[in-house]
Amino acid sequence: MFRWNIIVTALFILVQTVSAYSLRGFLDSTVSNGPPLTFSPDTEIILRSAEAKYNTYVRADGQSFVFLNVSEGAYALSIKSAEHIFPTLRVDVAETDVEVFVSHPGNEWSFKGPRQPYPIELRPFGPAVYYQYREGFNILKLFKNPMLMISLLTLGMVFVLPKIMDSLDPEQLKEIQQEQAKTVPSALANPMNFDVASYLAGKSSGPSASGSSVKAAGSARSRKS
C-alpha cells in the first residue's frame, strides 16, 4: 500500500513536471440531475498574465482544453462563454510545478483562494441569465395578496356579522355589547360594528353607543325580511 502511494505520487509529480509548459484541463459537464451540460464550440479559454496571453478553444470531445508552450508566470484563467458562468482561476506556472487556485474578482492579485486540483477542472456556477421575466396576471396570485385577503374578509364581515348578531340571543348580545363597551369605547375602532351603508350615506355611526347602531342595522334588515 505504502509503495503504491509512492508510485502514484511519483507518477503525479512526473506528469506535472512534463506538463509544466502545457496546461491541461476540462470543463466539468456533470450535473447532479438531468443530462450533462454541453459547451458550445464558441467557448474560448483564456489564460492571461500581465506579460502574455494565450487562448484556445474546446477540443472535439466538447469539454477538454490544452494550452501549449505556456511560459512561467501567474495567470488568470477565464472562460468566454455565452451560456455558462464560470469561475476565474489563478494558475501559477513554475518551472516544475503548476498550482491552481480559486480567484475572486476584486481581491488583490496576491491573495490566493483555495487550492484546486490539476489538471484544471472548471465547473460552471450556473447558466448565464440575461433576461428578466414579466409577471403575468394570475388570479391565484391576486388572492394570495394579504391586503386583498384582509379587505375581502372585512367585506364579508360587513355583510355576515349583522346577521349573526341578529340570530344571537338578546341576553347574550347584551353581554357581548357590555364587554365590548368596556374594552373598546369607540364603535369606529370596532370593525365588527362598522356600518357600510351609513358610512357611504355620509352619516357615520360616530361615537354613539355601539349597541344602537347594531340594533338599527338589525332592525333595517328585519323590516326587509
Binding site: A50, N55, Y57, R59, L68, K80, E83
Partner: protein
C-alpha cells in the same frame, strides 16, 4: 425650484438600478448581423457540402452551403495573421489553418478544426517562421520561412520529423505525395529546384538538388488545385508569353514550357485525371482555358476555349462561366460547347474579383464585398460582407408618419378666402379618407394588442413609426459603397449604392443641410451628395483646390448660429468647406495626432494655430479623444442633493477628454482640456498599476462627467472604470456662471472634480454614452466587451457620490445613492446583447427615438448589433405586461360593488329622512 422638483421626481421615479432585457423583447427589439469579412480566393475551400473560409478580418468560418448562414466561426485576431496563412482540408471532416501569429511573426500556429461543429481537433505552435507551404498527404507537411520542413501527425499534430534546408536555399513550397516529399527551394546561383525527402524518415532521399529553372528570377509560383496530380508553375518577370510547368507526380518530375495563345496577365492551374487545365486571363481582360494531357513525360495541348469577356473558373472536372445573369457549367475538355447546366443568378453590378468553384458550385466574389454562391442545381445565395468593414455610420431619421400636409397647403388654408380654404380642406379630407380603412385596421390592431410594434410598417416606405424606433442606419464601407439598414426590420437592406466615389476611399459621411441629405467625403477629395431615404446620388463633385499629395483626413462640422458648415480637414492642415459658404465668425477646432493635440482657429479663410498640448513625456501616446455630443441636451443645470441644496454642473461644451498611455512605464493618464483655449482643466495619472497599454484607455464624455476605462494588473487585476463628475464649485448652491451661457473666454475657476473608480470584470473595447431626445432621461454608458458582448452601465450606478464603507444616509437615499460597491457589471442582465455572439465591435453610436425614454443603440466593427434601451425605464410607454383584461375586470368588479351598495345607501338615506334612524 423647478430644477429641484424635476430632479427629485426623476430620482424617485427611476430608483431601480438593474433593468435587464425582458425575455419577450429579446430578438424583437434587437438584431444582430454576423459577418465574416472579405473572402480571399486562396483562403476559401469550397466542396459540395461545405464552405470554409478564413477571411481578411481573421475570422475562420464554416458556412452552410444551403443558405450561406454561419455554422460556426472563430475570431482568430490574436492567433492568426490572414496575410501569412494557409487554409487547407485535412480530411473529409476537418480543416487545417496554418498562420503566423500576430504577436510573433516567427511563430506559426497550426490548428485542425472539426468542420461541422467548430471544435478544435488539435493545435500546435511551431517556431521557425511564417508558413510558406502546407501540403496534406495523410499527414501534414509544412514549410516555414525560416527554412524548416516538418511532418506533423494527422491525428494529434505532434511532430514526426523535421528537416532544415541547407545553407543558401530559400524556401518556396512543399509538395507531398504518398511516395515522397518534394521541398521546392530557390538557390541564388542555381535557380529554382527541389530536394526529395523520404516520407518516413524526413531525410534526403538523394543528395542532389534538382534544378527545374536556372533563372533565379523565376517567381509567381503556383501550385495546382485539385488532388490528382502535383503540378507547379512559375513565370519569369517581364515574360508574359510562356509559362513553365513542372509535373511532380511523375517518378522523375518533368518540366515543360507552354505558350498560351495570347499574352497573359494571370493564370491558375487545375489538375485533372489526365493532365492539367490552365485558366488564363489575357492582357485584354479576356479569359480562356487550355487543357493539356500529360502522358509519358510529355504535356500536349488537347483543347482550348475561346477567349471570353466573362469570368471563368475550373472546378472539379468542370468549367464554369459567369455571365451577366447566370453561371453556366461545361464539361472540361469536351469539344462540345453546350452548357451542362445554367443557373440563373442575380449578380450585383459590381465588377467580379474572383470566381472559385468546386465540382458542383461556385462562389463569385465582387468588388463591392458581395459574395454570390451558385450551385449547378440552381441554388443560390448572397452574403454582403461589405458591412464588416465600416468606415463611418449615420443614423438617419425618417419622415414623420401620418397625414402628409405640406407647409404650402397649411399657408393656403390659413390665408385664402374662407370659401376657397374650406373647399380645399374638404378636398384634402376627402382624399385622406382613402387611408381610413388602413388606419382603422391599425387602430384595432393596436387596441387589441396594446402594441405599436404590431402595426405593420411597409418595408419599402421611408416613413417612421409612431415612436421613432425605425431609422435607417447608413454605413459607409471600405469597399466604397453605402448600405442603409432598416432598424425596424432586423437590419434589412433598405438601399445600397456601390462605388459611390469612383477611385476614391470614403473617409466619412455627415448629415447635409437638409434633413434627408448626406455628404460622403473621400480621401482624394471626392464628395457625393446623397439622398439618405433612397440612396440616390444628387450630385458628385471634387474638392478642386486639394493639393498634390494631400489627403482628406476627417470631416468636421461647425454650427454657427444655426447654420451648419461642413468642412474636410486634410493631412496638410487645410480646411475645405463643402457647402460653398464659409462661416462668417471665427470657428475653433482641434486635431489630435499621436502625441499632441493642436487647437486652431478658422478666420477669414485662414487657419491659425492657437494652442498645442503635448503629453508629459515622449513615451506617452494618445489612445482616444472624446468630447460631448453637440446634440446632447441638458435639462437641469444642477444636481439636487438630499438636503435640497444644489451642486451646479460644470457644463462646458468644449471639454476635450484626452486619454494617453505610456508603453514604457505601463501607465495611463487622462487630461481634460478646453477645446477653444487649450486650458488644462484636470488631469489624472495612473502610474503604479501596470496598465495594459495595448488595449489603451477608452473615454467618453457625458453631460458634466467623463467616464474612462483601462485594464490594469494592480492593485487588483481587472478593467478599471473611472468616473469624474465635474461641478462648478465644491460649495453647495454656489455657481459662478449665474445662468449665462458658457464661454471659454471668461475667466472661470477650474471645475470641482469628484472621482470614483469601479472594477469591471471584462475587457472593455469601447465606450459610448446614450442620448435621449430631450435629455430628461438619465444616461447609460454602453461598453463593447472583448467577450463578444455589448454591456450597459447606468450612469446612476457609476456615481462619484456613492457613500464608501457606510450605508447611505436618508438624505443620500433621497438622492438615489446606494452604498459604494467597487464591482460593477457583474450581473449578466447588464449584457445588452444577451446570447448573441457580437464579435469585433469597435464602436457604438446612440440616437434618440421619438420617445424621450428610449435610445437606439448601434454597435459596429465586424458584426453589427442594434437594440434600444430605456435608461430610466419606459416611463412614457405602456408596459407590455400591462393587462387590459385585468383593468376591465377591476372596472367590472367595481360596477358590481356599486350595484350592491347603491340600494343599501339609498334605503339608509331614506330611513334617515323619515327619522326612523338616527
Amino acid at each position: 425650484m423647478h430644477v429641484r422638483a424635476l430632479s427629485l421626481l426623476l430620482t424617485l421615479v427611476f430608483a431601480t438600478l438593474v433593468r435587464g432585457l425582458f425575455a419577450d423583447e429579446a430578438f424583437v427589439v434587437d438584431w444582430h448581423v454576423a459577418s465574416i469579412g472579405s473572402i480571399d480566393r486562396s483562403r476559401a475551400i469550397l466542396s459540395p457540402d461545405s464552405v470554409a473560409v478564413f477571411s481578411e478580418s481573421s475570422v475562420l468560418a464554416s458556412l452552410d452551403p444551403g443558405n450561406g448562414t454561419v455554422r460556426w466561426r472563430h475570431f482568430l485576431r490574436e492567433s492568426a495573421v490572414p496575410r501569412h496563412s494557409h487554409l487547407t482540408r485535412l480530411d473529409s471532416s476537418a480543416i487545417l489553418l496554418a498562420a503566423a501569429t500576430p504577436a510573433d511573426a516567427g511563430v506559426t500556429h497550426i490548428a485542425a478544426w472539426v468542420e461541422d461543429t467548430g471544435y478544435l481537433v488539435w493545435e500546435t505552435y511551431l517556431a521557425g517562421g511564417a508558413p510558406v507551404g502546407v501540403s496534406v498527404a495523410g499527414d501534414v507537411y509544412i514549410m516555414q520561412s525560416g527554412g524548416k520542413v516538418r511532418r506533423l501527425s494527422h491525428s494529434t499534430g505532434s511532430e514526426v520529423w523535421e528537416y532544415s534546408l541547407p545553407e543558401g536555399h530559400s524556401p518556396v513550397d512543399v509538395v507531398a505525395s504518398k511516395r515522397n516529399v518534394l521541398v521546392i527551394t530557390r538557390k541564388q546561383d542555381k535557380g529554382l529546384g527541389y530536394f526529395t525527402l523520404n516520407t518516413e524518415s524526413g531525410e534526403l532521399a538523394s543528395d542532389s538538388f534538382v534544378v527545374v529553372d536556372k533563372n533565379p528570377a523565376a517567381v509567381s509560383f503556383l501550385k495546382s488545385e485539385g488532388y490528382v496530380a502535383d503540378v507547379i508553375a512559375w513565370t519569369v518577370p517581364g515574360q508574359t508569353s510562356t509559362i513553365t510547368i513542372a509535373n511532380l507526380s511523375d517518378a522523375t518530375p518533368s518540366v515543360h514550357t507552354i505558350t498560351p495563345k495570347h499574352q497573359y496577365a494571370s493564370f491558375s492551374l487545375t489538375s485533372t485525371s489526365t493532365g492539367i487545365v490552365v485558366t488564363i486571363t489575357g492582357l485584354d481582360g479576356k479569359s480562356w482555358t487550355e487543357s493539356y494531357s500529360s502522358s509519358r513525360g510529355k504535356l500536349t495541348l488537347v483543347g482550348a476555349t475561346d477567349p471570353t469577356e466573362s469570368a471563368i473558373a475550373v472546378g472539379d472536372g468542370r468549367l464554369f462561366e459567369v455571365s451577366k445573369g447566370s453561371i453556366s457549367s461545361f464539361t472540361l475538355g469536351s469539344a462540345d460547347a453546350k452548357a451542362e447546366s445554367i443557373t440563373e443568378v442575380s449578380f450585383p453590378s459590381s465588377p467580379i474579383e474572383f470566381v472559385t468553384c468546386s465540382s458542383s458550385a461556385c462562389i463569385v466574389g465582387h468588388k463591392n464585398g458581395e459574395y454570390v454562391f451558385a450551385s449547378i442545381t440552381g441554388h443560390t445565395w448572397t452574403r454582403d460582407e461589405s458591412v464588416a468593414n465600416v468606415v463611418s455610420v449615420f443614423l438617419m431619421e425618417l419622415e414623420e408618419e401620418g397625414e402628409r400636409i405640406s407647409l404650402g397647403e397649411v399657408l393656403f388654408e390659413e390665408n385664402a378666402a374662407p370659401l376657397q380654404a374650406y373647399i380645399h380642406r374638404v378636398k384634402r379630407h376627402w382624399n385622406a379618407l382613402a387611408s381610413l380603412p388602413q388606419y382603422l385596421i391599425g387602430f384595432f390592431h393596436r387596441f387589441l394588442s396594446g402594441d405599436y410594434d404590431a402595426v405593420p410598417i411597409d418595408t419599402n416606405s421611408t416613413v417612421s413609426d409612431t415612436f421613432g424606433f425605425r431609422k435607417f442606419i447608413v454605413l459607409a464601407t471600405t469597399k466604397g459603397g453605402l448600405r442603409a439598414l432598416d432598424t425596424a426590420h432586423g437590419g434589412a437592406l433598405a438601399w445600397k449604392v456601390d462605388d459611390i466615389l469612383p477611385s476614391d476611399v470614403i473617409v466619412g459621411i455627415v448629415p447635409g443641410d437638409a434633413k434627408d441629405k448626406l455628404y460622403v467625403v473621400g480621401a482624394f477629395g471626392g464628395v457625393a451628395h446623397v439622398n439618405g431615404m433612397t440612396g440616390k446620388i444628387i450630385t458628385t463633385s471634387k474638392i478642386a483646390e486639394i493639393g498634390l499629395g494631400d489627403k482628406v483626413e476627417s470631416v468636421i462640422t461647425f454650427n454657427d448660429d444655426g447654420v451648419q458648415y461642413i468642412a474636410a480637414w486634410t493631412a496638410h492642415g487645410r480646411l475645405h468647406f463643402l457647402s460653398g459658404s464659409t462661416p462668417s465668425k471665427p470657428v475653433y477646432f482641434s486635431k489630435a495626432t499621436e502625441d499632441a493635440i493642436a487647437g486652431y482657429i478658422y478666420k477669414e479663410d485662414q487657419i491659425i494655430p492657437t494652442w498645442k498640448f503635448t503629453l508629459p513625456t515622449s513615451s506617452y501616446r494618445i489612445t482616444s479623444v472624446a468630447s460631448r455630443d453637440p446634440d446632447d441636451k441638458t435639462v437641469s443645470v444642477g444636481r439636487v442633493l438630499g438636503d435640497r441644496s444644489v451642486l451646479y454642473k460644470y457644463l462646458n461644451p468644449h471639454i476635450l477628454a484626452v486619454a494617453a498611455v505610456d508603453d514604457a512605464t505601463k501607465s495611463a493618464a487622462l487630461f481634460l482640456i478646453d477645446d477653444v483655449t487649450g486650458r488644462l482643466l484636470y488631469s489624472s495619472f495612473h502610474d503604479d498599476e501596470v496598465v495594459d497599454t495595448a488595449a489603451g484607455v477608452k473615454v467618453v464624455v457625458g453631460e458634466h462627467w467623463v467616464v474612462y476605462s483601462y485594464w490594469s494588473e494592480l492593485a487588483t487585476r481587472g478593467e478599471k472604470l473611472v468616473v469624474l463628475d465635474l461641478y462648478e464649485s465644491d460649495i453647495r448652491n454656489v455657481r459662478w456662471s449665474e445662468g449665462r451661457n458658457f464661454s471659454s473666454f471668461t475667466e472661470t475657476p477650474l471645475p470641482f472634480v469628484q472621482g470614483q473608480a469601479y472594477l469591471f470584470p471584462e475587457h472593455i473595447t469601447s465606450l459610448a454614452v446614450s442620448r435621449s431626445r430631450f435629455g430628461i432621461t438619465s444616461r447609460d454608458v454602453i461598453a463593447t466587451l472583448d467577450t463578444a458582448q455589448v454591456a450597459v452601465l447606468p450612469k446612476r450606478l457609476l456615481d462619484a457620490r456613492r457613500p464608501v464603507n457606510r450605508d447611505p444616509t436618508n438624505e443620500e437615499k433621497e438622492e438615489g445613492l446606494v452604498k459604494y460597491d467597487p464591482l460593477s457589471g457583474n450581473d449578466k442582465r447588464f449584457i445588452l446583447s444577451h446570447v448573441y455572439n457580437v464579435i469585433g465591435t469597435e464602436k457604438t453610436v446612440c440616437s434618440p427615438a421619438n420617445l424621450e425614454s428610449t435610445v437606439l443603440v448601434f454597435s459596429y466593427g465586424l458584426d453589427l448589433f442594434f437594440t434600444r434601451i430605456t435608461p430610466s425605464q419606459p416611463f412614457d410607454l405602456l408596459s407590455k405586461s400591462f393587462n387590459k383584461g385585468q383593468l376591465l375586470l377591476t372596472i367590472f368588479a367595481l360596477l358590481v360593488g356599486v350595484r350592491f351598495t347603491g340600494p343599501m345607501v339609498r334605503r339608509k338615506q331614506l330611513n334617515i329622512r323619515w327619522g326612523t334612524q338616527k
